[in-house]
């Protein structure tokens, strides 16, 4: 009788231990996913800061990877304004390329902490 009881108890302990092992395996898998997401966020943050320069003045702006360049342009025009003829100004990167208004921040290749220029597309006189 005693032996049977001991066997039952041991089997119960084994079952409990196996359950805990399965839970631990799930926890490890979840932790791996969390780490991978954290690494991805570190490499390509969803939201980040950029600097916009206008006539020698730098201002910081928060942008999201999926928002349109137009959104940042409007914010910058307001922050540095009032600016007349906003359609004559655009956002430019260091290489001198004008960012397209209808592209996302990500598609335009904007990186965290990048310096962008708010400036006229053309300066002329006559």
């Amino acid at each position: 009788m005693n032996r049977e009881n001991n066997l039952e108890a041991a089997e119960a302990e084994l079952a409990a231990a196996e359950g805990e092992m399965k839970k631990a395996a799930r926890d490890v898998e979840q932790a791996r996913r969390d780490v991978a997401e954290a690494i991805e966020e570190e490499k390509h943050p969803h939201q980040f800061e950029v600097m916009v320069l206008y006539n020698g003045v730098p201002k910081k702006f928060e942008v999201r990877r999926d928002e349109l360049v137009r959104h940042l342009l409007v914010e910058a025009l307001q922050a540095f304004g009032p600016i007349n003829a906003p359609h004559l100004l655009g956002l430019f990167n260091k290489a001198g390329a004008e960012l397209k208004d209808d592209q996302t921040i990500e598609a335009a290749g904007v990186k965290p902490h990048e310096e962008l220029l708010l400036r006229p597309s053309s300066v002329r006189g006559g």
Binding site: G56, I83, L117, P120, G125, G126
Partner: protein
Amino acid sequence: MSATYRLPRRILDETFAHFRGCGHGRRECQVLWVSPWDAPEIITKAVHPEHEAHVGGFALNDRWLNEFWFTLARENLGIRIQVHTHPGDAFHSPTDDAFPIVHTSGFLSLVIPNFALGPIGFDDAYLTEIHEDGRWAEVAMAERLILT
């Protein structure tokens, strides 16, 4: 903002030298008067932009403009007044109105007549200011520029 700027005589001399040396009495030319953001009322430098020009107009080099925008921030400078020449009378043309380098209200644009070949100074020059609604309006030289 309607600031009054103090302009050292040597900067006016440099400006006319740029106009004459670059335009040769045959092409328009532009100079930008800049000052530090912590003392904006004192003009400290005349910047001669890279540009293409002809007898009746000019256009800044886009690559130069991009680099200059970084330089301004690095050196804590702002453009206060754009200055350019005309072949004859000084006034603000529709192109001058539409394509200034700075579009914020209070920005000044000075036009020097006769390719700057006349006496160094503001004789027959034309000074105008951009307003919040985008319109330009002439302003009295003495109210906005003091030669020092």
